[in-house]
Amino acid sequence: MANLYPHKLVNIISLDVLQDKLAEMFRRHGVSGYTIIRVRGEGGSGEVAGTLDFEANIMVKVIVPEEKLQRLLDGLQRQIDKGYHLTIFVSDVEVISPEKFSTPFK
């Protein structure tokens, strides 16, 4: 029977143009991988309809073991301090293959 292991899921809503920047950051933090979804919505920056390039939003999902979480969040915080608009929330998830999430990609 498969076991479940607790991990953290970091969700980041950001501008499409920040994608490369975030990917580079994940690589530096030894994250195992990430998933990106195109999203649209409305909030502090007004309506983001996603029809034009410069106002498309993405949601980036990253699953990390708990010990990597704090450093990653600190890195994201520094981006927010620089003025980038990032909406970040973290939730608890359970995974069945923990080794997959401890191996850095590339």
């Binding site: 499409d16 920040l18 920056s45 309506e47 309809a49 390039d53 410069f54 890195g75 620089k82």
Partner: protein
């Protein structure tokens, strides 16, 4: 009056329809990525067309046009920045980001001007097209430099601890330069121009339905959607305030006058060609520059530069500016 009737061309009317659709809160929505597809098509078609013409053109004139395009591209953002700093309405960061938009160009406005000239049966040189390609990037660089200066001044006032594992400024700047010159629209436009210039005429002839016959229809569709986007931005008019809104109208007029003078006095173009140069000077980018500024100048408020370039200057140029610059160029040539 004659220049007013020139507004009654389908492309401009579709732009107005887009604005109206948004104002009356129609449920009309364009499929995602349509604007992107259309802008690639439009740049490709105009690039092939212009490249083919340029293949037969005079190299010295072309080089001269490129030289003046660079001068305009580097100087317009500085004029814009100084004007904005004098108003004291925005932070230096915002001024840098906004002026980068005004130094760069809008292909949508340029194509509308072509539709306008075609409709008035005015001929024009193909050189302004290379200028369109050249002028896309310099303003981004000037904007980044102005922002870097402003950032340095701010940092001197209130020093912050250095970032630890973060990307340092130097590598970032070079990757931004790379971005400015390899920007998608620049690649499509210059690439298509080269293909147009070196292709066999019979091959270009076969492409005529693609690059000529359906071109104006595609432009109508594109401006239809851009009208909706512009109207969505006009809602934010209140946020920018009257002084910035006035800048959104005055700055294109300054650019249009400078462009017209360069087109007539320096480059010695026909009325049509000089009108296109004026439009290049007047137009503000809303495709290439916003993402670059979002990435490189996060301190600047995007609703300022987007509302100005897309919500105010673009509609102004399409509806009022183009006939105005055409009239001004006629006046210059006439005297």
């Amino acid at each position: 009056m004659s220049s007013f009737s020139n507004l009654l061309i389908p492309a401009v009317l579709f732009f107005a329809l887009g604005v109206i659709a948004r104002v009356i809160k129609s449920d009309l929505r364009f499929p995602p990525d349509l604007a992107k597809v259309l802008s690639i098509y439009l740049l490709m078609a105009i690039g092939l067309h212009g490249g083919y013409e340029l293949g037969k053109a005079d190299l010295a004139t072309a080089m001269n046009a490129i030289f003046w395009a660079l001068i305009l591209g580097f100087s317009m953002p500085i004029i814009g920045y100084l004007t904005l700093v004098v108003t004291r309405k925005v932070s230096p960061m915002d001024a840098a980001a906004i002026s980068a938009h005004y130094g760069s160009v809008s292909a949508g406005t340029f194509l509308t001007a072509i539709a306008f000239l075609d409709n008035s049966q005015v001929t024009y040189e193909s050189y302004p097209l290379i200028m369109l390609a050249v002028m896309e990037s310099p303003a981004i660089i000037v904007g980044l430099l102005l922002a870097a200066m402003a950032r340095k001044q701010l940092a001197a006032k209130n020093p912050k601890p250095a970032d630890l594992d973060d990307d340092n400024g130097g590598t970032k700047f070079s990757s931004l330069l790379h971005e400015a010159f390899t920007n998608g629209s620049v690649v499509v436009l210059i690439g298509s121009m080269v293909i147009g210039a070196i292709s066999q005429p019979s091959g270009i002839e076969k492409l005529k339905p693609f690059i000529d016959d359906i071109f104006m229809g595609a432009l109508c569709l594109f401006l239809f959607e851009m009208g909706m986007e512009a109207a969505r931005r006009i809602k934010e008019f209140k946020k920018v305030g009257p002084v910035l809104a006035i800048f959104g109208v005055v700055m294109p007029i300054i650019g249009g006058v400078v462009g017209a003078l360069v087109g007539v006095m320096v480059l010695d173009f026909s009325v049509g060609g000089a009108t296109l140069v004026a439009v290049l000077g007047a137009s503000a980018s809303y495709i290439a520059v916003p993402p670059a500024m979002r990435l490189a100048v996060p301190e600047a408020n995007p609703s300022f530069y987007l509302t100005l370039s897309l919500g105010i200057t673009f509609p102004f140029n399409v509806l009022v500016g183009i006939p105005l610059y055409y009239w001004f160029v006629q006046y210059l040539v006439g005297t």
